[in-house]
Amino acid sequence: MKEILSGNEAIARGAYEAGVKVACAYPGTPSTEILENTVRYKEIDSSWATNEKVALEVGIGASFVGARSLVTMKHVGVNVAADPLFTLSYTGVNGGLVLVCADDPELHSSQDEQDSRNYAKFVKIPMLEPSDSQECLDFTRLAYEISEKYDTPVMLRTTTRISHSKSVVTFGERIGAVKEPKLERNPAKFVMLPGNARGRHYVVEDRILQLSKDGVSLPINRVEMRGTKMGVITAGISYQHVREALPEASVLKLGMVHPLPFDLIREFASKVDKLYVVEELDPFIEEQVKAIGIPVIGKEIIPICGELTPGRVRKAFGLPENAPSTVEKLPGRPPNMCPGCPHRGVFYTLKQLNAYVSGDIGCYTLGFMPPLSAMDTCVCMGASIGMATGAAKVLSPEERKKVVAVIGDSTFLHTGINGLMDMVYNKGAATVIILDNRITAMTGRQENPGSGHTLMNDPTNEVNFELLCKAIGVKNVRTINPLDLDECRTAIAEEMERPETSVIITDKPCVLIKREGVFKPGAPLQVVDDACAGCRACLKIGCPAIEWIPSSGKKGKAHIDPLLCNGCDVCSQLCKFSAIKEAK
């Protein structure tokens, strides 16, 4: 069967065909859709973990008792999962284990542009890198064979342009004979005390040497000779750009980017006059090729920042570019919080109170954008609370009051909770706002331990944030309605004054939640033309349903698009002229 699949859909299909029994992940663009697709196969137990470290541990547990398992995350997720990953390299596996890591060159939706190929080298495990959806499927299957044959976890690395691009894929069948998981004890291999681990280190080193040797005849490492003038070593999406921009070049296409098949590289290098490496981000292949004494041109001409495109490869090789037609400067079009988003009023209030907002990652990071402009820091998931503790430690008592950490429900459960325990334990004095919108919204609305449902759509326990914070030892915990600006202001102002830890929880859902009964839109509002004084107060919250019409009246008036408005009523609380009313 043939279908057009995204890289992520094809990985899910590959996992299904490989007989995977357990798939676990924490969402993160561009990796999220892999688990949203494994869940369609009833043979696979698919679940959202609280964070990437837990996701990998779930995968390891299943592997150790014999099941093939899949764990997926975005590049920065590997930083969170790195601790178990390093030791997993030593233990090896029982059932095959594949860790998919989706990098995001160009930072389409991320806070950094790290090149996760470095992890494979650091952890000393093989890494495969597909360059289209068919390879996503095929390499996923192959990764399980390699994992079990060499007793190692395997990383499969994609980039945004692989995960989110679609191409034609031919399906296979799910393999027939999969091992039945059962309890097997093997402490020498699975209990990594120094005495056992010392021995395993030798195994790891031998394994990676063997893989490098065997990589020479691995079919996914392939030489395409087209002439001897120039040869290009490349992998992943860069291969496609090279084929597009340099159709005459001979290519060594690496399907396995770690360890490198050095003998194959030597042979290819000897056949061409001039050798290049075309790779996105770090000079990962280039440095290793240089280290074995082969001269090669790479980052001298290929950009190290941002993603490659056919045009950027053309430019690097001095080929004529199509002159882009010049267009005048236009207003940008960044994303914006939805009409009626429960985060909006909180950021409006924080701005009014001149808070120093220790921010975090989620839809609410858009609170940084004008006109809300109420976020001062954003580093990584969960960082807001620890950073607030640190800032509060050193500021004067007056300035300390301004410090407010703001964190979403999913991010709080991911790694924020550790920061809160630390704040209480070390008597940190800052205010923490947990924006509980009942979902992991930013990445496309995934369920989480606070939302009451699993990825497989089973009803389940809901974390009670208030009780949880109290159990940690927070004395001042209150829940507020974030759509009521007076309530927001009173609560936040009071807690900011307090010389100890306090937590404020907001309790209104994301407007895009589809599950029935969770989000109920209010009646749309309208601006009564005669009453609107053109004061622009309602524009300060940046709701996309409100438009300033400069030509209306003497100095302009606001207008609400009834099709966009979700009736949250926040704008009407800002209008001193009672001009915003329920639409008739």
Binding site: K166, V327, P335, M442, L539
Partner: protein, 193 residues
């Protein structure tokens, strides 16, 4: 089959249905027996950001991204976004654009003005430009929400693909209850000169 790869760039505003239109295009080309690749950036929940989708088809397609300045057709869902992305189009390329302005955040809050005369400016750079009143034609077809399908019909007319593949793709991708209106909208777009 010639070796030529045909490049289509779809641009507009998040939430306008660009991703579905790109899916229908890709499906059509696959049904017609071509290799197809499609690439776009998505994954954010909130709507309203600028969206670009690349669709390429031919005997064999390598990069999923339309090389800068190689676009054959710019399929625009909104005027300013179409103007913004004209540099993806090859000299002498075709524009099919919806006659629609959506204000970006800075315009909504009265900080910027929506740039005037976008349609004319597009035509200055690219004379082969069809301006489509998607909204009104869709209302005539029976539902304002079928505007994208009107545009799709207009684009289909500019590509050498048999009509039956378009119909088959639309039948596969559009929900049953909206099918009749969409097929009508498609034909209205196809009829545009």
């Amino acid at each position: 089959m010639s070796d030529k790869v045909t490049n289509i760039v779809l641009v507009g505003v998040g939430g306008q249905g660009i991703l579905l239109a790109a899916e229908i295009l890709s499906e059509t080309f696959m049904l017609a027996g071509f290799d197809v690749k499609k690439s776009e950036i998505h994954g954010m929940s909130q709507r309203g950001g600028s969206v670009v989708s690349h669709v390429r088809y031919g005997k064999e397609v390598f990069s999923p991204m339309v090389p800068e300045g190689d676009g054959d057709i710019l399929f625009g869902f909104e005027l300013m976004e179409s103007y913004r992305h004209l540099s993806l189009l090859k000299p002498g390329g075709t524009v099919v654009v919806n006659d629609l302005c959506i204000a970006p955040p800075s315009v909504l809050i009265g900080q910027d003005e929506y740039p005037a005369g976008m349609a004319l400016k597009i035509q200055e750079v690219c004379p082969d430009c069809l301006l489509v009143d998607g909204q009104n034609l869709a209302i005539q077809a029976g539902n304002a929400r079928a505007a994208n399908t009107v545009l799709l019909g207009a684009v289909s007319k500019r590509l050498d693909i048999e009509e039956k593949y378009w119909i088959e793709a639309i039948e596969k991708m559009v929900p049953k209850k909206a099918l009749e209106v969409n097929l009508k909208a498609f034909q209205m777009g196809r009829g545009l000169k």
